[in-house]
Subunit: 197 residues, 2 copies
């Protein structure tokens, strides 16, 4: 922490006022899983379903913030840590504005996910449980193949580790179940955990 | 840009759908001015007034993000640039979620403010025009005094420059007018520029 000459100002709008008006609390749904496990398309389908159900919801993914907030970061261990740290802080600020934030990030390290969790209240970790073989078979962009050929360095599942979440709030079996079925599960989960104020 | 193996997914919820439902478009109101010019308290009063007027609005300031998203940054030229870059990206993402984002930052460099502008659509720069003598007299935390005594380095207005905005959308005379009068002006401005979808 390098900031010492800073001062705090409190918000005049109470979180509960926001929640009451919009009919739900803010929070973070953090989707983690291997590359090509389906996090991103699931995130945006969920955003759409939640919007239709009357929620204030917004999804973002690693690709998107790597083009903006994290455009200075690469894929080495330290840059991955910083990428997830910033994403967690971004999600935290947005959740405090009242949004249901859906964040889709490989986020392969337990410690980094813990940091994201610490940056937000009402944080829910969702693990997309899809084995690497299935991800690789589903990968229509050929990233796994490029990683195996050595063209992509530090590729999670091939040349960089993925630490399975130790205590996620929810595990989705995205092998047996279709994306739509998984999204149904998530909508039900959000209705249960975000509607009570 | 270090990110090459990233892919985009489009949002399924169109911005106009969000705007139509909430009755206004998203965007950024960027408050710039010297330390103790009144940016922060003005930002939070504006947030409250906009919320009461039915807007989805959220304010944040430099102090707040320096405790989170930018906790690794100091006050040298390069860290200030990065601080404003990240703040601009944060504001941009939040604006795309439909919020009226109010960002209160000294942001003393024209080039940095231009970068923040580039990161968001519907961006409005608001300059709090208060001379340094008035700011210093109003500074109830004694930061100017500490800066003059050499206790605070790189303090804008004393030991670091403030570049007056070249083409802000709005200039507020916060010397002649009270904070509440300035906030009235801002609410009128937002009603005019954010209600039409």
């Amino acid at each position: 922490m390098k900031s010492t000459n800073v001062t705090r100002v409190m918000h005049l709008v109470d979180e509960h006022e926001r929640w009451t008006r919009q009919g739900h609390r803010g929070g973070v749904l953090w989707l983690t899983g291997l590359p090509a496990s389906g996090k991103k398309s699931m995130a945006y389908e969920l955003e759409s379903r939640l919007f239709a159900a009357g929620f204030e919801a917004y999804a973002f993914d690693s690709a998107r913030i790597r083009l903006g907030l994290c455009s200075d970061l690469g894929f080495g261990r330290e840059d991955r840590r910083e990428n997830i740290r910033r994403a967690g802080e971004l999600a935290g600020v947005m959740a405090r504005s009242g949004l249901v934030v859906i964040a889709a990030f490989i986020s392969p390290y337990e410690r980094d996910r813990q940091a994201a969790r610490a940056a937000a209240e009402n944080f829910h970790e969702v693990y997309l449980d899809v084995p690497v073989e299935v991800c690789e078979a589903r990968d229509d962009q050929g990233r796994y193949a490029r990683a195996r050929a050595g063209e992509l360095a530090n590729f999670t599942g091939v040349s960089a580790p993925y630490e399975t979440p130790k205590a996620p709030e929810l595990v989705l079996d995205a092998v047996t179940h279709s994306q739509s079925e998984c999204v149904d599960q998530l909508v039900t989960y959000i209705e249960r955990h975000f509607r009570s104020i």
